[in-house]
């Protein structure tokens, strides 16, 4: 085995570290997650297992036969036709061609689609177009077709939306007004999420993905949880995946509770319990990446959070393993060596049910 192991920083830059440095970073990353989340560290065997994944001299690694899991995504089936902002490759294809290619060439287990903006608010006025798109695609696709959208509460605040902007109110000391604005916007978001998802349900939608939830903090998360609970009553045959935006629900409001639980400050192993309680069928934790730390540090941290989340979950857990979350470098074209190592570690050590 070589003295130096090639790996990367959290921003994607290639580095060489000694065996001892890798081991130290893995241990420190796991301890950081354990300390923040008040959860167990990886045990010595798991630390060794993660080290071996990094020490593998092959550029690409994979799970052992029999340990394969299900892939779900945030409209990755549309990346063939998307542009840079979506991680897309801008091929001149139709949505139908893109999704069928994803199914039959890429061999994905499920296919995610959505509006190109991928937020709820812009979908509402064109929901009939989205219904038609979903219906047409779903006649041709065999694998589960999942329509996704981000709650994205931020779009509801001025100047983009109708509600006063907490980012302006808070610095001005108008805390009460900022909270009221978030509560009112969350109510509108909840109604819009239910409206869009119910319309998709009416054309036979089999799965709906609330992706990047809580991106605008606890009020954003509240709207998603309330919408899911309502949808499981009025659209019971449609599976719902809840994917998070970060490891920690930001308390931009700070006092919001749901079922008696304060949402601000929840980590993945607590978030999944909320997801399960409202009826979500799959939960996608997101663990932040520090660009200034190494990938061994970041991935150890992600695996520690995911392992505990899977342990307490009664539903399948599919970690979000995109750019800048769950161990992948914060870079728009994540290097394949880190991508495959994250997949292997999250499945074999974190015991994820999917990615």
């Amino acid at each position: 085995m070589p003295d130096k192991i090639i790996t990367r920083m959290g921003d994607g830059a290639r580095i060489e570290l000694s065996r001892e440095q890798i081991q130290a970073d893995i241990l420190a990353g796991s301890r950081d997650a354990a300390d923040r989340g008040k959860i167990p560290e990886l045990d010595p065997d798991e630390l060794d297992q993660l080290f071996e994944i990094f020490a593998d001299t092959n550029r690409i690694v994979a799970v052992k036969p029999g340990q394969e899991v299900i892939t779900t995504d945030d409209a990755a089936a549309m990346t063939l036709i998307g542009d840079q902002a979506d991680g897309g490759v801008a091929l001149p294809l139709s949505a139908m061609q893109s999704v069928l290619t994803y199914e039959r060439v890429c061999c994905a287990d499920t296919a995610g689609i959505g509006h190109t903006d991928y937020s709820c608010k812009p979908v509402k006025p064109i929901v009939n177009f989205e219904k038609q798109k979903y219906y047409t695609l779903n006649q041709a696709v065999t694998i589960p077709l999942i329509y996704g959208t981000q709650p994205n509460l931020g779009q509801y605040f001025q100047p983009d939306g109708a509600f006063a902007n907490p980012s302006e109110l808070l610095p001005a000391g108008k805390i009460k007004e900022a909270r009221q604005a978030q509560e009112a916007a969350a109510e509108q978001l909840r109604n819009d999420l239910v409206f869009v998802a119910r319309n998709l349900y009416d054309v036979g939608c089999d799965g709906f993905n609330f992706d990047t939830a809580a991106s605008a903090g606890d009020a954003d998360f509240l709207a998603a949880l309330q919408a899911i609970r309502e949808l499981k009553q009025i659209a019971p045959k449609m599976a719902i995946e809840l994917g998070m935006s970060s490891e920690f629900v930001l308390g931009l409001h700070g006092e919001i509770t749901f079922d008696g639980v304060r949402l601000a400050g929840l980590y993945p192993h607590d978030q999944v319990k909320m997801a399960e309680a409202v009826g979500a069928d799959i939960f996608g934790p997101a663990v932040n990446v520090k660009a200034t730390k190494s990938t061994p540090w970041n991935l150890a941290r992600a695996v520690t959070f995911v392992k505990e989340t899977v342990r307490v979950a009664g539903i399948p857990v599919h970690p979000n393993v995109g750019m800048g979350v769950c161990g992948l470098p914060l870079y728009e074209s994540p290097p394949i060596d880190c991508t495959t190592r994250a997949a292997k570690a999250l499945v074999e050590i974190g015991k994820a049910d999917g990615l």
Binding site: T79, D109, D206, A239, D281, I282, A313, P334, A343
Partner: protein, 106 residues
């Protein structure tokens, strides 16, 4: 990136039994081990066979539930999903809607 995940850790979609196991997670909230065991029982094969192309290609062809390479007159899309729902003993919203449009419960 998505393709890297699929190659490193995915089940293989309709090339093997990935879609079938995915349906069990989506419709019954099954974790991965339970979902694989359920599908393997329904297909009367071992769990290891679920991701074995040499086994699954023939299984899918015999059951006519879409396979790769595609077969010209084989079921795919909603027709395959109708057969998959029956095979796995699950209810799919898309299949329910399709059958309602046909005016049949078959």
């Amino acid at each position: 990136m998505s393709v890297a995940h699929i190659m490193a850790a995915g089940m293989g979609g309709i090339r093997t039994a990935g879609d079938l196991v995915a349906w069990m997670q989506l419709t019954r909230r099954m974790k991965i081990t339970e979902a694989k065991e359920y599908v393997a029982r329904k297909l009367k094969i071992s769990v290891m066979d679920l991701t074995d192309e040499e086994v699954m290609h023939q299984v899918r062809q015999d059951l006519d539930i879409a396979t790769l390479p595609m077969i010209a007159d084989g079921a795919a899309g909603i027709a395959a999903k109708c057969r998959i729902a029956e095979l796995l003993d699950i209810e799919l919203n898309s299949v329910n809607r399709f059958k309602a449009q046909l005016g049949t419960s078959i």
